[in-house]
């Protein structure tokens, strides 16, 4: 037995993950793809084939377009937000200030909570806390709940996701900064480099691997966003904060249009597959 594992070790090490992915991920996906060509309601097993109908309808579905738009905005905001804010705060936490350890632990805290809990809490904050502040300080636009307007709700969704989202990147960037050898930092200080130069010429190169890691995490977070949005806005008002995941869920479970929901899912999957492949090719080119 041992001999076989060693001879074909490449495959032996891979077999469990491959089997699991095949059975519990790809198989359901293929089932879903199959159903996307039907009008299955998801309730009983009575359905008819409708060929490409679902996909055709999809092209002119305004909700689908809206969902893609929102998911895109969300994803880009998360990527930019997590990287920029993450690096900013990581630099602060890396400098010589008192209470460093405390702050570091404190800033990681949001990552530890469940998205659902956080969203429920922020729902109250946006509906009551902020308007109360707005009234006290007599700021006009703050007095209405953010969640009642489409742009406000989008902002609120991004805020809540970032609130939790930057925690992990901060730690990752912090680690990256701390891996810079002391001598280089000292050398640059002796050479009289100012803060900006230090950042761009020294810190940034060391941070590139971290940035790529955070980029992937944020991309994943944006594209698969569900829990927080579900709890915070439920997709509203008027579907302005419906992510693709939520759209699929709504069509499948609330509107009983499972075949159609799967068409959306397959389209999403194809887009992701294409983007991933491109990304892998690109990153291979930039490999150190």
């Amino acid at each position: 037995m041992r001999k076989i594992i060693n001879k074909y070790w490449g495959w032996a090490f891979l077999i469990v993950p491959l089997l699991l992915q095949a059975i519990f991920f790809y198989f359901p996906m293929f089932q879903g793809a199959f159903y996307s060509f039907t009008n299955w309601t998801g309730l009983t097993y009575n359905f008819d084939f409708v060929g490409l109908n679902n996909y055709i309808i999809l092209m002119s579905d305004s909700k689908f377009v809206k969902a893609i738009g929102f998911t895109l905005i969300l994803t880009v905001s998360l990527i930019v937000g997590e990287i920029v804010i993450g690096i900013l705060i990581a630099r602060l936490l890396n400098s010589k200030i008192k209470g460093r350890t405390f702050f570091r632990a404190w800033y990681f805290f949001p990552a530890v909570l469940s998205g659902l809990t956080v969203s429920l809490i922020f729902k109250q904050v946006f509906n009551y806390g902020l308007p109360a502040i707005g009234q006290a300080l007599n700021i006009g636009w703050l007095q209405e709940s953010l969640l009642g307007s489409t742009s406000g709700a989008v902002f609120a969704a991004i805020f809540v996701l970032l609130w939790q989202g930057v925690a992990m990147p901060i730690i990752i960037f912090l680690a990256g900064l701390q891996s810079i050898p002391e001598e280089i930092i000292e050398a640059s200080a002796i050479d009289g480099a100012n803060s900006q130069q230090t950042f761009f010429s020294i810190e940034l190169p060391y941070l590139l691997p971290s940035i790529s890691m955070v980029f992937i995490m944020a991309l994943k977070g944006g594209l698969t966003a569900f829990d927080q949005i579900f709890a915070l806005t439920g997709g509203g008002p008027s579907n302005s904060t419906t992510s693709i995941g939520l759209l699929v869920y709504n069509y499948a479970f609330k509107s009983n249009q499972y075949g159609y929901a799967n068409a959306i899912a397959i389209v999403l999957f194809l887009i992701i597959a294409v983007v991933s492949i491109i990304q892998i090719r690109l990153s291979r080119r930039f490999e150190i």
Binding site: N46, P131, G148, G236, S238, Q257
Partner: protein, 419 residues
Amino acid sequence: MERFKKLRYLGIASASVLALAACGNTEETSTNGKTVIEFFNQKKEMEGTLEEIIQDFEKSHPDIDVQMTSVPDAGTVLKTRMLSGDVPDVINLYPQNIDFQEWANAGFFYDMTGQDYLDNLKNQYADKYAINGKVYNVPLTANVSGIYYNKTKFEALGLKAPETWDEFVQLVDDIKVAGETPFAIAGTEGWTLNGYHQLSLITTTGSADAANEYLRYSQPSSISADDDILKADAAKLDLLADEGNQQANWKGASYNDAIVAFTSEDALMTTNGSWALAAMRQQEPTFEISTFAFPDEEHGQSATVGAGDLALSIAAETENLEAAETFVAYMTTPEPMQKYYDVDGSPVAVIGVEEDSDSPLKALNELAFTDKHYVWMAQHWTSEDDFFTATANYLMTQDLEALADELNAFFNPMKADLD
């Protein structure tokens, strides 16, 4: 070496998985020689009372053990269970919904037509939900929808519940003149406005069927902002939407927020269904809650809308049909339903239950099970969500064109089978 040990453990683990799974599936039949039936409940708020009722039942039927399943997001869970063939013996589900209708059509439920326990219901209420002439569900209670109001404050201000539409409009003005806010509205949860909007359509067109003729059974894209019906409907919605008629921050308010706004007297009325009463009582308001039904143009034509609330079906393939039917038959007697009513308050279809003459829901309960108690229009729809959204959107924008567009977008897919 470690890897092998772990592989072995995994092997044992997988074996135990299968063993556990096998054990799990035989759980359903006799423990201690009793017949075990599963009762799938969707009304989480009534969990406690239902447990009590089950205890009583088990006392008088010692050979039957009822296991109640009460999970969050019950609707979703039920759908996946039905699909995988894991149908509970007795199920509480909403008979006007499309999922019930589809499942009944596919033969998932036991045919109860002609059973004598159906006669225990007022006005043969079960017939309202028959599929192809067959009864698959026993609706024990129904929900009703109307307008809650602060009776104490009304009396203090010399106001009374309106009996015609014009009186309703006048009432709203009077409230504003007195310096109070008319309505507590949950802007982010359109489903709370569903009752009001459907009643508006029902009273405008004359009945739920007439309303559906206009919306659901008309030609695709035929709903227009120029239609008299839609204009009249919008005029009634305007009563909720007009400037100054709602509590502060209503656009961001949730269902809970609207309830709190009502019970803390920030607003004197709120439109909702009988299910909201329990939540309101939980807030321990200092005033007397009462309700009035949605008024029509003329006197005595007020209407309400609702459908089966605690409504039971039996699985067609259940292994314990007799036990299941005994339990369902028991539920159609006054004893357990009295207990239920005392906590829940919504109208009970079971004959013999004494309803509280001082109930806040009195005005609505009086209409229950009569022909002024219309069934939710969604009985003929394939979904409801976008209707809620369209209603909420209209309240925020008062844009009639947009309302027509959204209604068309909502109903068009359903009209694919027409002509």
